[in-house]
């Protein structure tokens, strides 16, 4: 019997039920930054995904480089390629997303689209922060 109240089946991350604000925030932060998990590590799949994603990233970087815009373009290209890779890795290792308020602790299993939305949104934020700080440090120029 499915639960229509959730967009997909409820599913708990390993750290579900962790009490204490610091512990939970720490676990969530780790979750956002580290897509792999010991239990879900599927070697074969990850390697295949890596090959695919790296190929994709390399082509984007290559095209940008060919247009003489390597600096910022290369970063975006690699970041995009990495995101594709991360989606595949996460679907194998951490196939869940949060449901409802971000301060809540309800999780559900992720469909491919859920994962794409999660990774692209998260990586857009991380990318923007990294990119802007690199830029303000003068390490990347556009």
């Amino acid at each position: 019997m499915v639960d229509p109240k959730m967009p997909t089946e409820p599913m708990d991350p390993p750290y579900a039920g962790k009490t204490g604000l610091v512990g939970r925030l720490g676990a969530e932060l780790w979750d956002h930054l580290w897509p792999w998990s010991r239990t879900g590590f599927q070697r074969q799949r990850a390697i295949q995904a890596a090959g695919l994603a790296l190929g994709l990233a390399a082509s984007v970087v290559w095209v940008l480089a060919a247009m003489g815009r390597l600096d910022a373009g290369a970063i975006i290209g690699w970041w995009f390629g990495w995101s594709v890779f991360e989606v595949v890795v996460r679907l194998g290792a951490k196939p869940y997303v949060k449901e409802g308020p971000w301060w809540g602790a309800a999780y559900r299993s992720a469909t491919l689209m859920d994962m794409i939305c999660y990774v692209s949104f998260k990586n857009l934020l991380i990318g923007a922060v990294l990119f802007l700080s690199l830029k303000s440090l003068g390490l990347v120029s556009v």
Partner: protein, 720 residues
């Protein structure tokens, strides 16, 4: 590269071919000869006579900022007709694209504009949508106008001496920037050639406190200022040290002057100044560039630094330069280049703020072309050094603030509209409980009013239709140059986007798409009207399996546009014509060439028969907003029985409810139909059964709780 370029050109040609009949944008990203901005003989590279009718010869570039003189041959020799200037020699004010509109401007000897020609622009809106002729027409409004007049975009206001120019609908930001460029460029040259008289400012009377402040103290109280330009700011790779790092200050003030120079040099300097002369010093403490330059390029003028006070610019000639051998103030930084410059003009006054401007060339990475850029730092002598302190000054409002002030009432009305929608939606529980399957007016009255306002007032009135092109523009602004002013200069779009961002996170994209998007509202209103006028039997929904496949198309469109914009913003803007918004609201259905009109009309026509076809399958903006909607905080309510009951799913116009009764929050447009069912005991099967059961058993019908069920009847323990 060649294969790539060929591909790109092919794509471009195809798109342009598809847009046959549109005004071909010929100065969009036009290639200009690099010599145009560097050669002394500017008019060899551009037809200067276009902006100075009757001229047949032109001088070399002269002055700072530079201009050329235009002559007509007469029997006896040459007659000076006026002046021609290249806007990017004078200012780097960017237009909407973040890049300046390169404009050639002609002005006669009396300061009246004789011609304006756009050589190159990067404005996406003028590429397609609004024909470039609109900009030409806009520019033609300057012909014959005097450079010293107060010319602004908007209505003429004779009582304030303001001459108004008609803006280009939908390209306000571009024309505001263009007006600044015109007035600034014309004004600079007019002042150099004596057409405009410099402003005369009252002079300061200095107080000599007798103290000798150290360097640190001078920096802290503001009588020494710093101007740093980094390598990245001029398009060079990071080098670990700035492009140039300057310290500067005003020397006539005795306390400051003596502290910086020491008594002897100060007295000697002052004895060499004429009345009305002002001395400033500049030292370079770090950097790879020189502020004096290696040679006097144009007529013995130092072309890398100047002083500006409001609209007056003061440049330095070789005769305005004195050596600065050392700084007396204790704790001054070591320096490798130094100068004392004399401002020789009664227009300058130390009592008012001024700026030291460093003029540089910025290298465009992609093209290698050099463009002009300037950097400045403000200086205002501290009040303690002047009798009576600093005078009161009224700084003019920045352009964006003027727009906000002028449109304040409309802005308030628009904001109130958005707030009202959000408030109504947050009260949805009350509204849906008052509605029934047959009478949804408590919800629909609000929604329909919302649609009408959104179509008429927001869409056609304010032209505030959010669009994917804005998302692309921000994305690029984030990468290249983020300017709040630019976004603030369109207040409605600015506010709308805050509304969108906030509500997407609260409730998902449905509130914007379903209630406030002008095109979406128009589309669904047409569908409703179609039903009301008797076309109901022709109205249809695509079969769910097909819908479930086609709904992905919009994400493809979204990612496609994002990817293309990385390579060519221009091409992405053209492809963004998949949004019929420009045609519908910005330009008008009947003002565009037929392919656009046909496309937009076809979508709207189809909307009469099927609900929101564009929103469901094509809209890249909808797709872009759907993605973060995955993580909206507050979803809609469902009950366990929804898994087998199909009542809501059948009624859902967005086809957002799947066979298990789950709502796809990326597709749901928050129409509230299913929420009406949720609370209605004549519609929702579990409720209806319970109602019948209780009625039969003679039990009371308790109110329906937030969980969508009758509040259970609890037997009250009776006293024994």
């Amino acid at each position: 590269m060649s294969a790539l370029a060929a591909l790109r050109n092919l794509a471009l040609a195809l798109t342009l071919g598809a847009c046959a009949g549109s005004a071909f944008a010929n100065s969009y990203e036009a290639h200009l000869p690099p010599e145009l901005s560097t050669s002394p003989r500017m008019c060899d590279y551009v037809a200067c006579a276009d902006v100075m009718p009757g001229a047949d010869s032109f001088s070399e570039r002269k002055g700072q900022p530079p201009y050329v003189e235009a002559y007509r041959s007469t029997d006896g020799g040459k007659q000076l007709l006026g002046y021609v200037m290249l806007s990017t020699d004078i200012t780097d004010i960017p237009a909407y694209s973040g890049k300046p509109v390169v404009t050639l401007i002609g002005m006669d000897t009396t300061g009246h504009f004789t011609g304006v020609k756009v050589l190159k622009h990067s404005e996406p809106i003028l590429l397609l949508g609004i024909p470039e002729e609109a900009l030409v027409e806009f520019n033609n409004q300057y012909l014959g106008k005097f450079v010293g007049d107060n010319i602004e975009i908007g209505r003429s206001r004779p009582e304030h001496d303001i001459i108004g120019l008609d803006a280009i609908t939908g390209a306000t930001v571009t024309v505001i920037a263009q007006n600044q460029v015109m007035m600034l460029s014309g004004g600079e040259v007019a002042k150099q050639v004596g057409i405009l008289k410099p402003t005369i400012r009252p002079q300061a009377t200095f107080i000599d406190s007798g103290a000798r402040p150290g360097w640190q103290q001078l920096v802290e109280d503001g009588s020494v200022q710093r101007l740093t330009v980094t390598a990245e700011e001029v398009g060079l790779p990071h080098r670990g040290q700035p492009y140039i790092d300057l310290w500067f200050g005003y020397l006539n003030q005795p306390t400051v002057g003596r502290a910086v120079l020491g008594d002897g040099p100060y007295n000697s300097l002052m004895s060499r100044l004429q009345p009305g002369d002002h001395a400033i010093f500049i030292v370079r403490s770090a950097g790879i560039e020189s502020f004096k330059g290696s040679g006097f390029v144009r007529g013995g003028i130092y072309d890398r630094v100047q002083v500006r006070q409001e609209r007056d610019a003061f440049t330095f000639r070789d005769t305005d330069y004195f050596n600065l051998y050392g700084i007396a103030a204790a704790g001054a930084p070591a320096f490798s280049e130094s100068a004392i410059f004399i401002v020789r003009s009664g227009a300058f006054s130390a009592a008012y703020p001024w700026k030291l401007v460093f003029l540089a060339n910025k290298m465009d990475k992609a093209t290698g072309a050099k463009t002009f850029a300037n950097f400045d730092s403000e200086y205002w002598l501290p009040g303690a050094y002047m009798e009576g302190g600093r005078p009161e000054i009224v700084k003019p409002d920045p352009v964006w603030l003027k727009i906000w002030k002028e449109r304040l009432v409309t802005i308030i009305a628009f904001t109130a509209f958005l707030v009202a929608i959000a408030v109504v939606y947050s009260r949805r529980d009350t509204l849906v409980r008052r509605s029934t399957r047959k009478n949804k007016w408590p919800v629909n009255a609000f929604k329909y009013v919302g649609w009408v306002i959104s179509i008429g007032f927001v869409g056609f009135g304010l032209l505030a239709q959010p669009s994917i092109t804005q998302v692309l523009t921000w994305f690029h602004a984030l990468l290249f140059q983020w300017q709040w002013e630019l976004f603030l200069s369109d207040p409605f779009i600015f506010i709308f986007w805050w509304f969108i961002i906030i509500t997407v996170f609260l409730w998902g994209r449905g509130l914007f798409c379903g209630w406030a998007c002008p095109f979406g509202s128009l589309s669904e209103l047409l569908y409703k009207l179609g039903g009301w006028v008797g076309l109901k039997r022709y109205q249809f929904k695509l079969p769910k399996p097909l819908h479930d496949k086609l709904k992905w198309v919009k994400y493809g469109v979204f990612f496609g546009l994002l990817a293309v914009s990385m390579f060519s913003m221009g091409l992405a803007e053209k492809l963004a014509e998949v949004e019929p918004f420009k045609t519908t609201f910005l330009v008008g259905l009947f003002n565009r060439s037929w392919p656009y009109t046909l496309f937009a009309s076809a979508l709207l026509g189809l909307s009469i028969f099927t609900e929101r076809p564009f929103c469901k399958y094509l809209c890249p903006l909808g797709a872009g907003l759907a993605m973060p909607s995955t993580f909206r905080w507050f979803g809609l309510k469902r009950k366990q029985e929804c898994d087998s009951c199909k009542a809501c799913a059948v009624g859902c116009g967005s086809q957002a409810i799947d066979k298990d009764g789950r709502i796809d929050q990326r597709e749901c447009l928050l129409c509230m139909d299913c929420m009406v069912y949720y609370y209605e005991d004549h519609a929702c099967p579990p409720l209806s059964q319970e109602r019948k059961r209780r009625t039969k058993a003679g039990l009371p019908l308790t109110p329906i709780g937030a969980d969508g069920y009758y509040i259970p009847i609890k037997p009250v323990a009776t006293a024994k």
